[in-house]
Amino acid sequence: MAPTATTTPAAGPRTAPPASHAERLRALRESAYRIRTHALNMAEVQGQGYVGQALGVADVLAVVYKDVLNHRPEDPEWPGRDRLLLSIGHYAIALYAALAEAGVLDTAELETYGSDGSRLPMSGMATYTPGMEISGGSLGHGLGIAAGLGLGLRHQGSRAHVYNLLSDGELDEGSTWEAALACAHHGLDNVTAIVDVNALQADGPTNGVLRTEPVTDKWEAFGWHAVRVDGNDVDALVAAFDSLRTHRGSPSVLVCDTRVGRGVPMLETREKAHFLRVEEHEWQIARDQLTERFHAECADRNAATADEEHTA
């Protein structure tokens, strides 16, 4: 397994004094970069493993785990925690990376991903992994469980919030919409759905398998407060989650448009597939491209900021 990237500083604990907005975004982008690096390393060990989805959803998970969730990494069962339910069990690779980034898992454990006896199975299971709230994988289950958790936490006076990460393909499942009705009917403003619209499912592009667009309109018609953002734009994600935090009276959904393979140019342009094909010799190339792109984007942003300051 390749060493974890050390070219960027570790993110500070959440108890640190409030940072400037720019500092907050910079730290989250670094988290997303590390999540991507972890995912590539894990996929290399396994030789495969939903790396396209993991790269696509990394920004969302970085913001959720480092900026949104009120949780205690050292005590993943803390009853007052906000919960993220991973419906899409095959995204476990990305969630393990995020749990390592959040401090729930040791980074060293990630290399056991998908191995016999590992706590990190290919498809996420609650009984295996600290911080994995549900056993996803059979799609269309997460939102129903979220509805019950939302009802139960509210009934007991808890202020904890329930997030459910699902995919656009999962919108094919009727049970997702049963649960969407239930959350809206019961006015569960402690439930937020996050839909990763990568426009790809097992048999091909979503619009060719079973058309789900217009996604935002559907959620709104079901009584949800819906916001749609570029799910690979950390700034937009932070602003969206900040605005959702104050929403009351109905459940919310954040529809996130993401790009499969995001952050690694070679994989962004590769033919899109549920299992993204990566040859053995390409993992190091992928890591190099990821790092190169990350630093280039940082430099671009710094230059833009300097320009703004200069103009001001």
Partner: protein, 334 residues
């Protein structure tokens, strides 16, 4: 297509008589909505008890709980998958849910949710299925003739088929106290009260001998235990001495009691309100086979077919669940 024979002219035509067909025999004592009342009483003592239904609270006796504890009842609408998912979430939040619908919907329709959201994580969710086996004349859409067969292979699930109101009243707190998931076959409405005449206490996972007998051993579950007791009483007149072993818990199955009693060289008749495939009869047969015990074993149960619609008494006669049919079978086999 199935069809029920036309009734003889001059007699009153029996009707399907709504969904609330009672299984009580004439003159039998009954208790109203024993499940709903037992759950409401339990909830008086346990603040963690909550109830859910999928647009069938009124028809699963859950309305009694809803009226007693409105703040702890959650209506999920006609959406069984969402109901079982939500029950899982409620349990994850620390509450103890009872979720009711018809057995056909809890099993056939929402199986994946019972399996993965509830049984796999081993949550204390109690699923309550009404209209088990042949307890409605509405035909296959409502008759859960194979619910036990569907559920017996689910790891970690406790399955209870109560005989009467006494069984239900005692089972409800026992199921709530049991840490894992359970499935209760519900008898609703005016439910016979019979077992208080016997020295009987419901014990989860345990069979109970309700009466002894030298010639025949009835091994029965669910409402068929009440029929077995009636048949045993009436067979006394024919000088047939019949024992009744009531097996309210289908899983985990009390193999020890079943094998012990079946080994006593009597005609063994299994009686269940369920298909002869995958329920009590095959549980008994496999228990005996694995223990290398042989017996003259005859099943009373529903045939392996989609059953007819019609009036319940007519259907019970037709499919061999009536007391008269049980007595006939014993006379033939002895």
């Amino acid at each position: 297509m199935n069809s029920v024979g036309a009734p003889a002219t001059g007699t009153r035509r029996l009707t399907t008589s709504a969904m609330i067909a009672s299984i009580a025999e004439e003159g039998q004592r009954t208790a109203k909505a024993p499940f709903g009342h037992a759950l409401a009483r339990l909830a008086d003592q346990r603040p963690d008890i909550v109830g859910l239904s999928a647009d069938l609270a009124k028809y699963t006796d859950m309305h009694v709980f809803r009226e007693a504890h409105p703040d702890r009842f959650f209506q999920m609408g006609m959406a069984e998958q969402a109901m079982l998912g939500a029950a899982s979430g409620l349990a994850e939040s620390g509450l103890t849910p009872f979720a009711s619908t018809y057995s056909v919907f809890a099993t056939r329709r929402a199986y994946d949710f019972l399996c993965l959201d509830i049984a796999e994580p081993g949550l204390n969710v109690n699923v309550v299925g009404a209209l088990p086996g042949l307890t409605t004349g509405y035909g296959p859409s409502h008759q859960a003739t194979e619910d036990l067969a569907i559920l017996r292979a689910m790891p970690g699930l406790t399955i209870v088929d109560p005989a009467d109101s006494v069984d239900i009243q005692q089972a409800v707190p026992a199921l709530a106290a049991h840490p894992g998931p359970t499935y209760l076959r519900l008898l609703r409405g005016a439910v016979p009260t019979v077992l208080d005449e016997y020295d009987y206490t419901f014990r989860l996972g345990r069979a109970a001998e309700l009466r002894g007998g030298r010639d025949v051993l009835f091994i029965s579950t669910g409402l068929m235990t009440v029929r077995a007791l009636s048949a045993a009483r009436e067979l006394e007149r024919d000088h047939v001495d019949a024992a009744v072993l009531h097996v309210p818990t289908i899983k985990p199955f009390d193999r020890e009691a079943v094998v012990r009693e079946a080994a006593k060289d009597r005609l063994v008749v299994t009686l269940e309100n369920h298909s002869v495939i995958g329920g009590l009869a095959e549980s008994v047969a496999s228990s005996l086979a694995f223990a290398r015990v042989t017996a003259h074993l005859v099943p009373v149960g529903l045939p392996d077919e989609f059953l007819a619609a019609g009036a319940l008494p007519t259907l019970h006669d037709r499919y061999g669940l009536s007391v008269a049919a049980i007595k006939d079978l014993v006379r033939r086999e002895l």
